[in-house]
């Protein structure tokens, strides 16, 4: 019982210890003070973050919430009483078909990213976790796409997808699949998928390094022990790697959801939301309301609805995986 050793002051003020110690009135009061002190000390760790957060996030958030119930164009001198419209913005969004379509597009990109991008990231991370040659080299290379500017990515992929001079069509032609040749980005059936693939390609590096960091924290001995017991590599993966990696999977998938739902620079550079409304995503819609239509309040309301949807998505995802972990 290490914690009962005398002379360890810090142990005594640990709030969790209180019920283990004989209760007398004096001691109780002392404990209370000590606990408050300990809480204060604990809180002081989080304090700088909470302070910065309150000033630079919560305050603007409240303002944005205020604006979301106004019909304001972003230029007129703002006065709440004059522009207040109640929840008309929200009501209008609920009936805005294009907005919900853009939401579905983002969800589609997210689904592709969650499966394709994360599968790729995991496969690569597993490969680089093994003792293979030149793994340091690959480790560096796979981080290039996230670092690259969207301008370059957009230019290159547009060239790949181009209808006349594109690399993809060229390859299809050579493989005798010339009936598949078309302009990939202006065809409504393929545009969104093409954008999603580029997004996944650009983003898998993040999943890769986080998963790799997670894999690296799994003790080697566990693998060795499993091997000694005669487990196949699939069994090792299934029974050792996956259970230990669940928190990291949750982290990566939440990051993927956030990254994919909020994609827009790539869309701007590749399709501009077109053809028609086929590659519009929530962020492009929000910017359209804000900049093109000067409907600032509406844009804020869109942002809040979008945020709420993301919030529900991410928290459900987190809860589900916590359940899975317990099973």
């Amino acid at each position: 019982m290490n914690w009962l050793k005398p002379g360890k002051k810090k142990i005594k003020i640990n709030p969790a210890m209180t019920d283990k110690i004989p209760e007398t009135a004096v001691l109780k009061r002392k404990m209370k003070i000590a606990r408050a002190k300990s809480y204060l000390e604990n809180f002081s760790f989080a304090f700088p973050a909470i302070l910065i957060f309150s000033v630079f996030y919560i305050y603007p958030f409240l303002k944005v919430f205020q604006l979301s119930v106004c019909s304001w164009n972003g230029i007129d001198a703002f006065s709440f009483g004059k522009f207040y419209t109640g929840f008309t913005n929200f009501k209008e969004i609920l009936r805005d078909g294009i907005w919900w379509r853009s939401m579905w597009h983002a969800a589609y990109i997210t689904i592709i990213a969650l499966t394709l991008q994360n599968a790729l990231a995991l496969a690569l991370a597993l490969a680089c976790d093994k003792e293979i040659k030149a793994r340091n080299f690959y480790r560096v290379i796979f981080f290039i796409p996230p670092v690259l500017s969207e301008v370059v990515v957009g230019l290159i992929w547009q060239w790949i997808y181009d209808g006349n001079y594109g690399l993809l069509n060229y390859a299809l032609n050579n493989f005798g699949l010339s009936n598949l040749i078309h302009n990939w980005l202006s065809d409504p059936n393929t545009a969104l998928t093409c954008v999603a693939i580029v997004h996944s390609w650009k983003g898998f590096g993040w999943g890769f390094i986080i998963l790799l960091a997670g894999l690296q924290t799994i003790p080697r001995q566990l693998y060795e022990a499993a091997k000694v017991d005669g487990a196949s590599s699939w069994q090792i993966f299934r029974n050792v790697t996956i259970p230990l990696m669940i928190p990291v999977f949750v982290l990566v998938s939440i990051l993927t959801i956030l990254g994919s739902m909020q994609v827009f620079i790539l869309i701007y550079t590749m399709t501009g939301g077109g053809p028609g409304y086929h590659t519009e995503v929530p962020v492009t819609r929000i910017l359209a309301s804000m900049v093109a239509s000067s409907r600032f309040g509406y844009a804020c309301a869109e942002g809040i609805i979008f945020g709420l949807v993301l919030l529900v998505l991410s928290f459900t995802q987190k809860k589900i995986s916590e359940r899975v972990k317990q099973v």
């Binding site: 709030p15 000390e41 910065i52 604006l67 480790r139």
Partner: protein
């Protein structure tokens, strides 16, 4: 005997497939970088007409032109400054907070953590107006305060140097500090979340041992938690470095003077509303990518080195 051979062949084949797979993916990753570099050595007229990777007449002077025309000197220093301070700040502040949320309970700590989590998810498209107004109001208050302290300052300094001090504070110091805090806020939620995930995974035995040895909470954070979470810290450093390095929307909102702007502002010179000077842009982009890759090269070792530390985790 036969079994051993098929096993070896199977293993070889498996290894071969892995290499092919890795190499294909690696190729798609390297190609844009190579293309960017080779484009930076072409001219505006050959960049899209001559598709060869090795330019006929490499225009090395593009780098010089891009550097001088984009005014990269001061922007580069500014970006280095912002990135270093912001990333340093984020690592300290977020690891304190994450450590506290993970280990040191206080009333409302779960609520606070969930608030950070929620903030990560709710994008604030319209927040730039309140943010700008806020930063501006703080500036006004600060300047009033400075003006009130004028008589006091005059005891030590001449009028001219006091004026200079005020101008410096208003135009240089304050916008930079405000920008740094905004950027710390941008990276905070995500970093706290990543770090907390890793802290939660860490066994608390070492911390208990340290506590028994009489280590204070701050000491435990510094001596145990931080070294143990090095892979996670490496991840957030990379993440935030990239984020700050490439940021320009907030920078343009909060910073007004050209001399305080970060690197991305220099790149804008080549992407006009009507004309994009592709070779110069590519040269500029190549120059901006290099520091990031260097940071990554240094830090990726820590992700791997975490191996030894990570052996405890699990």
């Amino acid at each position: 005997m036969r079994d051993g051979r098929t096993y070896r062949i199977k293993r070889r084949a498996k290894g071969f497939i892995i290499y092919i797979f890795l190499s294909i993916i690696a190729l798609t990753c390297i190609f844009p970088l190579v293309w960017m570099f080779s484009s930076s050595l072409k001219t505006q007229s050959t960049i899209f007409s001559n598709m060869s990777i090795i330019p006929d007449q490499p225009q090395w002077k593009n780098y010089y032109i891009a550097w001088t025309k984009g005014g990269f000197g001061i922007y580069f220093l500014n970006s280095l400054f912002y990135t270093a301070v912001v990333v340093f700040g984020i690592v300290i502040v977020s690891s304190w907070a994450a450590y506290s949320f993970s280990r040191l309970k206080f009333p409302g700590s779960i609520l606070a953590f969930n608030m950070f989590l929620a903030a990560m998810m709710i994008p604030l498209p319209g927040s730039f107006v309140p943010l700008y107004v806020l930063v501006n109001n703080i500036r006004k208050v600060l300047m009033v305060f400075l003006n009130n302290s004028n008589p006091f300052l005059l005891k030590f300094l001449s009028q001219a140097s006091v004026d200079q001090l005020f101008a410096f504070t208003e135009q240089q110091l304050y916008p930079r500090v405000a920008y740094i805090f905004c950027m710390i806020n941008v990276g905070l939620s995500l970093s706290i979340y990543i770090l907390k995930t890793f802290f939660d995974k860490m066994p608390s035995e070492l911390e208990d041992a340290a506590r028994i040895d009489g280590c204070s909470k701050l000491g435990i954070w510094w001596n145990v938690a931080l070294p143990l979470s090095r892979p996670a810290i490496a991840v957030i450093v990379i993440f935030n470095t990239l984020n700050v390095w490439n940021e320009y929307i907030l920078a343009q909102l909060i910073l007004s003077e050209k001399s305080t702007m970060p690197l991305q502002r220099g790149l804008m010179v080549f992407q006009g509303v009507y004309v994009t000077q592709y070779p110069l842009l590519m040269a500029g982009l190549t120059m901006t990518v290099i520091p990031i890759l260097i940071v990554y090269l240094i830090l990726q070792k820590y992700i791997i080195k975490g191996m030894t530390a990570g052996a405890v985790v699990g």
